[in-house]
Structure formats: structure tokens, C-alpha cells
């Protein structure tokens, strides 16, 4: 196989943002997650928890609560506004001010007709959900103290509201408070501090469950307004609650990073009376658990430590299956790094800015396992702060390193870069075609003469670049009527093909010479997570969220022989069990049979000339191969060369000089930048 020189990069200080809120849509099995920077992410739980959509954040938008109404997603934030999201164009559709100060919580009734908001000024505000907007209907009786949490009774006639030191039950018809449930404060020093009811849940049998800042989970009788049971679960706060759909199980998230499950069971065998019994404690977080979702089979939790954790409930899933293993989602399922392989440059994308780095150079030679002397250190050439309030959603660097572009939901910016020895000139291209305003993905052609930008309805805008200006050429449109955004773009090395993949799982191939659609790859049920076109054979390689690999001949418009062989034999079970998606594919121009791809924990060179690994074959066989004498290696070799030397990978690329670039972001480095794992002080408490 051979030796590689590897640029091991650890200077990308990528820092995920803390998870602030989440909402699970049981119908579509989509989880919406809001982060502290205002970004909203959609994960598809029916397709390997793939992060299918990301709506970038905005400086002024602090999302405090999320709510699905049917397939529409709403958020409320401390800026006092309700936002509905456009999930097709990945941006806010509109915002409406609630005029009640910061919004702490937002909740819809089961019928999906009303939104209830809990506001800082002590009002519960009702908004009617209309086809194209939400409209203010009325305020409930104003209370002293902010409304922190809300929960509708499933019938839609009552609402429980968590406040400071108490829970109020409102009649949703009249807007009058019907009950006042006093929540006890903590003991000792915290006695003097108001207790915050961070979360409430109103069950069909009129049981109200509350979680508060004194560390209690309390069960109330909502009919009489009496306290039934108190579970003291933590010294700190109980921040989040979530109830299963059948209302037989409940989870509570605490500041200690624990998630505690309660189940409605009879405490003595054979007895009819059921009560809420504390059953399990999960500790998968180091910091506050701020958001929870109880799905049919799992508990989903997230918080300060930025990780999204899917913890299956082992009584609900079959043991030893993919479904039964714990998932931690730390990195985004898309690439934040762009590599100019001819120039040896790396572009790092942050929400706030871009960083352009030049790789270092080495001196002399070494044998495998050696570190070479770094002659020239890597250098940060440019740090470019974005303009405006909106966060960066995508960015691109041309292979020659001469062009750089980024986009927010509202605008695209293009820069011309010039290198004169040690001086770097950066010029903003002033007049961009007006079509180039809201794009989801950016990509340069390999000769840096064109910029491709994916736009609404899966269309791609093609722009021609020359020394001074850029001109609009064409808009490529698929034949399908899909309204979904394109999340992957790939321009072939020879400049002839452009491949796009959208969140309807469609892959379209355009002929750039003719500027028209060449073909559409047969739709596979799982999301494409990475696509690439081979520079010599013009075969399209696609890897999906379920880890399947396909190779499709663009010339013959059919799957290749190798692809069929792979499908017939099936991928190795260990390959399928990996729980992070492949986010990039590249090829080795020295050896056309090589496909290089990576996920978070490994990179793999697939040698198409070697036999495929069978079920009984050792998949991770590099150690074995290393230990056996050379003549014997061929006997043990198979197509999948997996290297796990580098971990928590954000990027693996092959430069033109055939050296590899790996960008690592060790999770320990992320952990070390988090605040100390103590109770987080939340605003206004």
C-alpha cells in the first residue's frame, strides 16, 4: 500500500455551542435542537440520527424553547420574539414580537391550533397558529413573576405554568388561574432564594410533574392541587423534564449531568395502584442537562457539554443491535474545513469568522512512525470576521487558493486572494450577481474558473470568475419537483461534471459543458453523506448515512461492477456498526483504484483492486498486516485499509504532492474549554 506523509493539524479550535433546547416530532421522527449561539439543527432519527439540516444562528437570537406544530417548527427566545423556520430554505421564515419581554417557554396544544408562550412579564400569551403565520389572540391573567415553563393538558383545556416558587394552573378557555401549587424552596442557604420551576409536564390523568431549582421532581394532583410525592434527585437544579408518549415513563435532567428516569409502576407486585418510581440514572454528561426528549425507545439529552446523547432504553429495544448502542453526536455531519490541495491551504469555518492557514513544510525523510522536523511552521494567513448579524452557514476555498467565499442566510461574499511572497492581498469582489443571495452550499471548480452555489428548490447557480469580476452564467435545475435544499456539491476534477445531493436523498448529475442535467442517480432510502466523482473513470462514489457505499458510472448511467459486487457481498458488519457518518471522499491520482474517505474516528483507503472483506474477515487488520512478513501480507489483505491513528477527525484530504492532511480536534481539548462543571447560573435566577 505504501507510506504517506501526514500533516497532522490540531490548530483548528472548533468549539461546538451548548445545547439549549430540543423538541422531538414523533410523526416525522425529527429532533430539533437549538444551540446557545441560536443555531437550530434537525436530526433524522429514522435515518441513523443524521443531521440533515442546520439553520445557522444569529447574534440577537437566543433560542430558549422549541416547539413543533405538525411539521412546522417554532422557537421562542430571550429577544422576546417567536420565530417560525423555513425548513426548505434553512432560514427563519418570519419573526413576531410577543411584547412580553424575554420568552422562556413555548408550547403548543395537541390539536396544533394554539401556541402558549411563557413571558418574563408574568403573562401567558396565546397565539393562534394560522397557515402562513401566528397571530396573537390574548393574554392570560397576569402573574407576579416570570413564567418559566408551560405544559398543556392533552385535552387542551388547561395549562400548567411553572413560575418562581409556584405552579399555576390556567383554564385555557377563560385565561383565569384555577390552582396555585406552592413549590417548597431548598433547605439551608438556598431557603432565602426563590425556587425556579424549570419544567412542568401535565399528564392526561391530571397529574402535574415539576422539576425545580431545589433539585426536586414533584408529582402533583392537578385536580385538587395537592402534592403527592417529592423526589429529591440532586443538590442542584432539575432543568428539564420529558414524558414518553404513553405517559408511563418520565426523564429529568439535572445540573449534575445526570438524567433520571421515573416510571409509572405499581410499587408492590400485583397491586393496582401505580405510582411514579425512580428507576434509572444515566450519567452521560459532564455538565447541565438543559434539554431532553423521551422518544419511543430512547432518552435524548443535551446541554452545556455540547454533546447530543441518544441513550436507548434497553427494555424498549432489542439487545445488541445498532439501536441498542449509546450514541454521542459531537461533530456536525458536514465538513467545516476546506482544503486548497494545490496551494496547501486550509480554510476553517467558524460561526463568527473564517481562518485561512498555510500548512508547514518538513525537512528530510523518515521511516514510518517518525515525526519529521518542521522546517516552516504553519501560518495563519487571514482571519476574516463575518459581516452582519447572521452566522456563517457555508464557505469554500478554490483549489488554487485564489478565491474564497462564504455565505450567511442573507448574503454571499466572495474574496480574491493574492500571494506575493509573504504578503497576502485580500480583495472583496464587490458586485455579485443578484441571484447569489441566499445559498446553502458553495463549491469552486477545480480550475477555479467557476463558483457553484446551491439555492432554493435544489437549484444550483453557476457563476464565472475571472481576474476582476464574476458573472452569472446559468442556473441548473433538477427535473424533480423537490423543494428540499442541496446539502452536498461536488465538481469533478476534469471540469465536466457537477454532482448535487439534497435532503430528499436525490443525487443529480449535471453536464457542465452543456450546462444541463445529465442524469439522476436512483434514489436510495438513506441520506447521502458524502459524494465524489473519480477524476479518471468519472464514476460517482456515494456514501450514505446507513454507511452503504455505491459507485455509479456516469458514462453508463448504471452502478459499476465493483458496486454490484459490494452490494452482493454486503458490507462488513463492523463497518456498518460505525456510528459517525463519512463526511468526505477523495481520490489518489497516483493509484486510480484508491478511494479515500473518513469519519470522526478513522480514515479508510479503499483499494478496489483488492478482494472485499467477507463477514468472517478481520476488518481492522492493519496491526496484523504489520506483524506478518511481507510475502504473507497479500493473503491477509483486503480492500478496506482503515487507519485509526488519528482521532476525532474533522477533515482528511490528499494534497497534490500526495501528502495527507488530517485535521484533528480531540474531544479532551473541547472538554477543557468548557466552563467548570458546576451549576450554571442561568439568567435572572
Amino acid at each position: 500500500m505504501g507510506e504517506f506523509k501526514v500533516h497532522r493539524v490540531r490548530f483548528f479550535d472548533y468549539m461546538p455551542s451548548a445545547i439549549r433546547a430540543m423538541a422531538f416530532n414523533r410523526q416525522s421522527e425529527r429532533l430539533a435542537v437549538a444551540r446557545a449561539d441560536g443555531a437550530v439543527e434537525i436530526f433524522n432519527f429514522s435515518d441513523n440520527y443524521f443531521q440533515e439540516k442546520v439553520i445557522p444562528g444569529q447574534d440577537s437570537r437566543a433560542v430558549e424553547a422549541l416547539c413543533w406544530v405538525d411539521q412546522r417548527l417554532f422557537s421562542g427566545g430571550l429577544n422576546g420574539e417567536i420565530t417560525e423556520y423555513d425548513l426548505e430554505n434553512l432560514k427563519p421564515r418570519y419573526t413576531v414580537a410577543a411584547y412580553g419581554g424575554p420568552i422562556w417557554t413555548i408550547s403548543s396544544n395537541n390539536q396544533g391550533t394554539m401556541l402558549a408562550l411563557g413571558c418574563e412579564d408574568g403573562t401567558v400569551k396565546m397565539f393562534e397558529v394560522l397557515a402562513e403565520k401566528v397571530q396573537f389572540q390574548r393574554n392570560f391573567d397576569r402573574q407576579k413573576g416570570r413564567i418559566i415553563s408551560l405544559s398543556w393538558h392533552p385535552s387542551g383545556t388547561l395549562i400548567a405554568a411553572g413560575m418562581m416558587d409556584m405552579i399555576r394552573v390556567f383554564d385555557a378557555e377563560t385565561g383565569h388561574a384555577t390552582h396555585r401549587l406552592l413549590v417548597e424552596r431548598g433547605v439551608g442557604a438556598s431557603k432565602s432564594r426563590e425556587v425556579v420551576v424549570w419544567s412542568v409536564a401535565f399528564l392526561s390523568d391530571h397529574t402535574i410533574i415539576s422539576g425545580d431549582s431545589a433539585g426536586k421532581v414533584q408529582i402533583w394532583d392537578g385536580v385538587t392541587g395537592t402534592l403527592l410525592r417529592t423526589h429529591l434527585v440532586t443538590k442542584w437544579d432539575v432543568l428539564a423534564l420529558s414524558v414518553s408518549q404513553d405517559q408511563s415513563s418520565l426523564v429529568a435532567g439535572t445540573s449534575e449531568g445526570t438524567v433520571i428516569q421515573f416510571q409509572l409502576i405499581s410499587s408492590t407486585v400485583g397491586q393496582q395502584d401505580k405510582e411514579w418510581v425512580r428507576t434509572r440514572t444515566f450519567k452521560n454528561h459532564s455538565h447541565d442537562v438543559r434539554a431532553l426528549a423521551h422518544t419511543e425507545t430512547a432518552v435524548v439529552s443535551g446541554g452545556m457539554d455540547t454533546q447530543l446523547v441518544v441513550r436507548p432504553l434497553l427494555d424498549k429495544v432489542e439487545k445488541n443491535t445498532q439501536e441498542s448502542s449509546l450514541r454521542k453526536i459531537v461533530f456536525p455531519h458536514r465538513s467545516l474545513v476546506c482544503c486548497a490541495k494545490k496551494a496547501g491551504l486550509l480554510l476553517f469555518q467558524f460561526p463568527e469568522h473564517l481562518e485561512l492557514w498555510r500548512l508547514g513544510e518538513s525537512e528530510g525523510h523518515g521511516k514510518p512512525g517518525d515525526s519529521l522536523t518542521v522546517k516552516t511552521k504553519p501560518e495563519k494567513l487571514i482571519q476574516l470576521k463575518r459581516k452582519g448579524e447572521d452566522h456563517i452557514c457555508c464557505s469554500a476555498l478554490s483549489p488554487c487558493g485564489g478565491w474564497m467565499a462564504y455565505s450567511t442566510v442573507s448574503s454571499v461574499r466572495l474574496y480574491r486572494l493574492q500571494y506575493n511572497n509573504n504578503n497576502i492581498g485580500i480583495t472583496k469582489v464587490s458586485r455579485l450577481p443578484k441571484d447569489l443571495c441566499s445559498v446553502h452550499q458553495l463549491c469552486f471548480s477545480s480550475d477555479s474558473s467557476k463558483l457553484f452555489a446551491s439555492s432554493s428548490h435544489s437549484s444550483v447557480i453557476v457563476v464565472a470568475l475571472n481576474q476582476q469580476e464574476c458573472t452569472y452564467l446559468h442556473t441548473l435545475k433538477p427535473k424533480s419537483s423537490s423543494r428540499q435544499p442541496v446539502h452536498l456539491l461536488f465538481a469533478s476534477e476534469d471540469g465536466k461534471w457537477l454532482a448535487t445531493a439534497n435532503t430528499d436523498c436525490e443525487i443529480h448529475i449535471y453536464n457542465l459543458d452543456k450546462l444541463k442535467l445529465h442524469c439522476t442517480v436512483p434514489v436510495y432510502s438513506s441520506y447521502p453523506t458524502a459524494i465524489a466523482i473519480h477524476p479518471l473513470t468519472s464514476n460517482l462514489v456515494v456514501v450514505h448515512a446507513d454507511q452503504q457505499i455505491f459507485e455509479y458510472s456516469l458514462e453508463k448511467k448504471e452502478y459499476t461492477e465493483w458496486s454490484r459486487k459490494l452490494q452482493k457481498l454486503g458490507l462488513h458488519s463492523l463497518w456498518l456498526e460505525r456510528d459517525t457518518p463519512v463526511t468526505h471522499i477523495t481520490f489518489n491520482s497516483r493509484n486510480p483504484a484508491h478511494i479515500i474517505l473518513h469519519d470522526m474516528f478513522m480514515f479508510c483507503i479503499i483499494d478496489q483492486s483488492l478482494p472485499l472483506p467477507e463477514a468472517k474477515t478481520l476488518l481492522y487488520n492493519q496491526m496484523t498486516l504489520r506483524s506478518v512478513p511481507e510475502p504473507e501480507r497479500i493473503r491477509h489483505s483486503h480492500a478496506f485499509k482503515i487507519c485509526k491513528n488519528f482521532q476525532h477527525l474533522l477533515c482528511v484530504r490528499l494534497l497534490e504532492d500526495h501528502s495527507l492532511v488530517v485535521v484533528e480536534r480531540p474531544l479532551l481539548d473541547i472538554m477543557s474549554q468548557l466552563p467548570a462543571p458546576v451549576r450554571q447560573k442561568k439568567f435572572a435566577t
Binding site: K367, G369, I605
Partner: protein
């Protein structure tokens, strides 16, 4: 083993001027075992919560009036009953604030005491021996009260006991040196009179204690000569015919407590359970005279189970409520929790056998020891040595401690009084048993010093765990040896005593310490020194202490100058060595760290090989 725990103070006392009386008239249990009513000898009644050491309420009669007896608590009615000015019965509740406004009734005869067992009905005992239930008395307060006692007969002590369902008032009287016991049964009323056997002429019982078990009333009484007798009266055959004729009361000697010289003055013995007796005011057998102890004795084995020195004068008063002893001493009333586990009584059958054989051997030994002790006070030196050797050789080691303690204190006190008498080998032998400590025979070390018996001193220093710092210093003064350095001490207590050493002594001592230190620090094989040599740190600690105590004096003393300079340069070189070692340690640790941190670069270019 019975044990006395760390006590605590319930309240302060105002004892009589001449310390003849504690100032407490009585302590009675209130609503539960944690509440008691304390009646002082003049005017006031105070309710305490024992575990909180806190008074909950207090009631006082007017100036000029006085309380006759201990106030009692009637738990049925939640009322307190007390008697003032001999004839006025007062009844009040906890919420009553002023005693004067509470219920009062004047009766027609002088009252001796009111008794009330917990849960029972109060009973009034009149000075002339008549008994009435409080209720029936109050129904007609002025009813005539008969006289039971004859002229010149007076009540000395009384109590109230419930035996099964029968309530008894028990009291003792004295008439011209004769003592009588009266058993008054209530409902139906019967009275029985017994005559106590006479002890040595002129001796009357110091204290009584009555208990009821196995259908018998057990009366325990202590005489000033240390004898504790028990008399048992069946409650069954009682009072079929009422008669004033006094029956003789059979008694058995339960314990013969050592009283030292003279007779006991203020002492009392109290039954704790069938096998244990608490005794106060009797000297500890091995603690010498002049100390007041509270002890628990096992009456089956006649062994001392636990002892506790009580600071201040003991008044011979003692009360016991549910595993707590209440004892006034000096100017405080202390509460001392205790346990008397039953298991030691060999409740299990297997153990019972063992206990029985022990029981046989034990009294013989104590008797023998007691005999020896008497004999020791007169016998010549050679015989004493022989006798003690014999006693030690034939006895098993178990339970040696009391006898050894007793022997040593006798020998020591004899040696102190009789300058011709000294038995170094015997004492050495006894110290060698390792059953002794300084507190058992406080005079031994000083005696040895006086007799210049350094060998014995050395032994004591080696074996005694509790030598006071003052004595250690006395030893230091007398001779300077290894053993002194090894004894346990506390800086704070030692320092003031060290200051008593003269400067010549200090210089000598420092020289010796320096010699030891140099010898040790040059010696490559410290383990060769053996058990009896002090460790290097012990030497250093002593150097520091001696310097601390005498620094100014030493600076002024010309002959100490060389010594101090030597010590200074020595210490300086040691400090330098340590700091150099510290540097080496630091750099070695740094090396260790570098190895770990090798990979944590921001950027590296590496060669890998895939197969």
C-alpha cells in the same frame, strides 16, 4: 464489661459553705428518661432536658419558705408535687409560672417525703411513719395522722417500689443506734418491721438502695467500713399478720470495698442490675487516698469493672435513671452514661460454665491478694519478695491488673513511710508485667527517683504510657538517658516543665543530644540500634524543644556558645542538602512530564505506513 462513658454537666451547684452538703435535695425522673426534676436544698425545683443539658422550667417557693423533700412528677396527671414548710403540699403543672398561685393544702402532721414511681400514684410518707396515698390525703387534708414510730425513732431513708401490682413504701429508721427496716404495702395496707443486724459498734449504714426482682425486694446497704450487705425480703409472705415486733433481717456480705485508712464519710452504693453496683465516695483500690472515684463493681465476681475520677468533693449522693448516673461533685452535677452488658454474666450456657470456674478461682485470688496486702504491710523485705514472686508465678495473667495495682500501691506507700523498706527487684518484676500504668501507682516513679533506682525509672519510662510531663522532667533532672526521649509527651505541656531545668543541665543535655544525632547521622545502619534507642526525629524534636525552652538563657551562657554554633552549622548543612535534593527531585519530575507531553503539539508532520 461495664463501662462509664464521658460525662457531661447538667448544671452547676451551690454547695453548703462547709461543703457538707451538695445543695441538691433530690433528682426525680419526669415524663421520660430524658427529663428530670432537680430539687435543691432550699427553695427551687428545676426541670431539665438531660440530653440538651438545658433547663426547661423552674419554680421557686417564697423567701422564708423551704422545700422539705424532693419534688416528684405525677405522670398520670402531668403534675408536680412538692412539700414546703413541713406541712404544705403544693401541686402544679408545667405551664404554671408562679408556685404561689398553684394548688396548696395543709396537712395535720409533718411530712417526711412524697414518693411517686413513674406511672404510679404519689404517696406521702409522714415523719412519724404513717403513709397515705396523695389522693386520699387531699380528699381530707386535715384528717388525723397516726404515729407508727416510737419515741426517739426517726426515719433515715425511704423509697417507693412497685412490685408487680403492689405498691410499697420502704423506709429505714434509727433508734438509739439500732436500725430498722419498714415495708409498708398499700392497698391492702400492711406494715412489716425488721431489725438490721448490727455492724461494728457505732457504725450505721451510709446509704441504702432497694430494688425489686424475682418477687423479692433486695435491699443493699453500705457501711463506713466498706462492707456492702444485701438483704432479701419476699413480697409474697409479707404481712399476713401485722405486728410491731421487729423480725431479724438476714443479710449477706456482697462486697468488701477497700476503704484505705479510716472510715468512709460520704459514700453511697446503688444497685444498677443484679450483678452491678455503682459506688461513689469509696477510694479506687489502686489510686491512693485523696481521690474521689465513681466505680462500678461486679458483685458476682467482686471485681472492679469501671472507675472514673470525679473532680471536687463528693457528697455521697448518687441517682440513676435509665443508664445514666447523676452525681453531684465539687460545684457541678454531672451526668455519666454507663453500660452494664448482661453478656458478661454468661447468659449463654456455654459461657456459663466458664464463668462458674472463674467465679471459683476469682474470689480465692482476691481473697488471697487481700490477705497478702494485709501481710505486706508488716512482713520483712525478703519474705515480701518471695511472696510476690510466688503470687506472680502461679497466677494466670488474666485479671492480674487489680491485684498488681493493689500490691504496688501497698509496696510504694510502705516504702514511702518506712525508709528502711525498699524492694527494687519486686517492683521491677511488677512493672515488667506491663499491667501497670502511671495513674495506678502515681508515686512509683518518684519513689524510684528518690531511691536513685534508675533501672526501675527506666523500666517505668519504657512501660508506662501515661507519665505526666512534670514527672518526665523530674526524670530528666535526675538523669539523662535514652528512655526519657522515647516517652510520649505533648509539646505544650512539656515546655513549661522543661523551663525548670538549670542551664548546666540544659547544656549537658544538648551536648548529649548532639552526640546522639551525629552518631546516628553518620551511622549507615540505623536498624542496628535496637528497640530502646530513640529515633532521629525524636532526637531532633527534643533538641528543638530544649532550645525553645531555654534559648535566651543559652545565648547568655558562654559555655553554650560553641555548642550552639555547632548545632547551627550542622543544621545549615542539612538544610542545604535537603534543598539540593529538592532541586533534583524537581528536575527528575520535569523529565517525567516531558515524556508524556511529547505528542501534544498543534502541528506535526509524520510518516505513516498502511499495509
Amino acid at each position: 464489661m461495664a463501662a462509664l462513658y464521658e460525662g457531661y454537666t447538667l448544671c452547676g451547684l451551690v454547695p453548703a459553705q462547709n461543703l457538707s452538703h451538695s445543695g441538691i435535695q433530690g433528682i426525680e425522673q419526669e415524663r421520660d428518661s430524658d427529663h428530670v426534676v432537680v430539687t435543691d436544698s432550699t427553695r427551687s425545683v428545676t426541670l431539665y432536658k438531660v440530653s440538651d443539658q438545658k433547663p426547661l422550667g423552674s419554680w421557686t417557693v417564697k423567701q422564708g419558705q423551704s422545700l422539705v423533700c424532693s419534688a416528684v412528677f405525677n405522670s398520670q396527671t402531668k403534675e408536680y408535687v412538692a412539700v414546703s414548710d413541713n406541712r404544705v403540699i403544693r401541686i402544679w403543672k408545667e405551664e404554671d409560672i408562679l408556685l404561689d398561685k398553684a394548688f396548696k393544702a395543709t396537712v395535720s402532721s409533718d411530712v417526711w417525703r412524697v414518693h411517686c414511681v413513674h406511672g404510679g400514684e404519689p404517696v406521702v410518707l409522714f415523719q412519724r411513719g404513717a403513709v397515705r396515698l396523695l389522693d386520699s390525703l387531699l380528699s381530707a387534708p386535715q384528717q388525723p395522722i397516726e404515729e407508727i414510730l416510737v419515741q426517739e425513732e426517726a426515719i433515715r431513708w425511704s423509697t417507693n417500689i412497685v412490685a408487680e401490682t403492689q405498691q410499697f413504701v420502704i423506709f429505714t429508721t434509727e433508734q438509739k443506734g439500732d436500725h430498722f427496716l419498714y415495708l409498708q404495702r398499700l392497698n391492702p395496707n400492711t406494715l412489716q418491721r425488721y431489725r438490721l443486724e448490727r455492724e461494728e459498734p457505732g457504725l450505721g449504714p451510709l446509704s441504702f438502695s432497694a430494688s425489686y426482682r424475682d418477687k423479692h425486694i433486695h435491699l443493699l446497704y453500705l457501711y463506713p467500713n466498706g462492707h456492702v450487705y444485701q438483704s432479701v425480703v419476699s413480697v409474697r409472705g409479707l404481712g399476713t399478720e401485722e405486728g410491731t415486733q421487729a423480725l431479724p433481717l438476714p443479710r449477706s456480705l456482697l462486697l468488701s470495698l477497700p476503704v484505705g485508712e479510716g472510715l468512709l464519710e460520704a459514700a453511697s452504693a446503688m444497685v444498677l442490675d443484679e450483678a452491678h453496683v455503682a459506688v461513689v465516695g469509696v477510694p479506687h483500690p489502686s489510686a491512693g487516698a485523696g481521690k474521689d472515684f465513681l466505680c462500678i463493681w461486679n458483685t458476682n465476681f467482686q471485681t472492679l469493672q469501671a472507675g472514673k475520677e470525679m473532680a471536687g468533693k463528693i457528697y455521697g449522693q448518687l441517682w440513676c435513671y435509665s443508664n445514666k448516673l447523676f452525681i453531684p461533685h465539687g460545684k457541678t452535677l454531672s451526668v455519666i452514661p454507663f453500660v452494664c452488658p448482661k453478656s458478661s454474666l454468661a447468659s449463654a450456657l456455654g459461657k456459663l460454665k466458664q464463668a462458674k470456674t472463674e467465679e471459683k478461682a476469682q474470689p480465692s485470688r482476691t481473697v488471697e491478694t487481700r490477705k497478702t496486702v494485709c501481710w505486706l504491710t508488716t512482713a520483712p523485705v525478703e519474705d515480701v519478695e518471695k511472696e510476690v514472686e510466688g503470687l506472680l508465678s502461679r497466677s494466670d495473667i488474666q485479671d492480674l491488673q487489680p491485684s498488681v495495682g493493689q500490691l504496688v500501691s501497698v509496696l510504694v506507700s510502705r516504702s514511702l513511710t518506712d525508709p528502711a523498706f525498699y524492694t527494687p527487684s519486686t517492683l521491677a518484676q511488677l512493672v515488667h508485667t506491663q499491667c501497670l500504668c502511671h495513674s495506678v501507682c502515681p508515686d512509683l516513679v518518684l519513689l524510684a527517683l528518690e531511691k536513685k533506682d534508675y533501672f526501675l525509672c527506666q523500666l517505668c519510662l519504657q512501660f508506662f504510657p501515661d507519665i505526666p510531663e512534670a514527672v518526665t522532667c523530674a526524670c530528666l533532672k535526675a538523669f539523662i538517658r535514652n528512655e526519657v526521649l522515647q516517652t510520649a509527651y505533648s509539646d505544650n505541656f512539656l515546655l513549661p516543665h522543661l523551663k525548670d531545668l538549670s542551664s548546666q543541665h540544659v547544656v549537658l543535655f544538648l551536648q548529649y543530644l548532639q552526640f546522639l544525632y551525629l552518631k546516628y547521622s553518620q551511622d549507615a545502619f540505623p536498624q542496628m540500634h535496637g528497640l530502646r534507642s530513640p529515633s532521629l526525629t525524636q532526637i531532633m524534636d527534643w533538641v528543638c524543644l530544649v532550645l525553645d525552652a531555654h534559648f535566651t538563657v543559652l545565648v547568655m551562657t558562654p559555655e553554650a556558645k560553641g555548642l550552639l554554633l555547632n548545632l547551627h552549622s550542622f543544621v545549615k548543612s542539612q538544610v542545604r542538602l535537603v534543598s539540593e535534593l529538592g532541586k533534583i527531585e524537581g528536575s527528575l519530575q520535569e523529565l517525567n512530564k516531558m515524556k508524556v507531553n511529547k505528542d501534544v503539539g498543534q502541528y506535526s508532520i509524520e510518516i505513516i505506513e498502511l499495509f
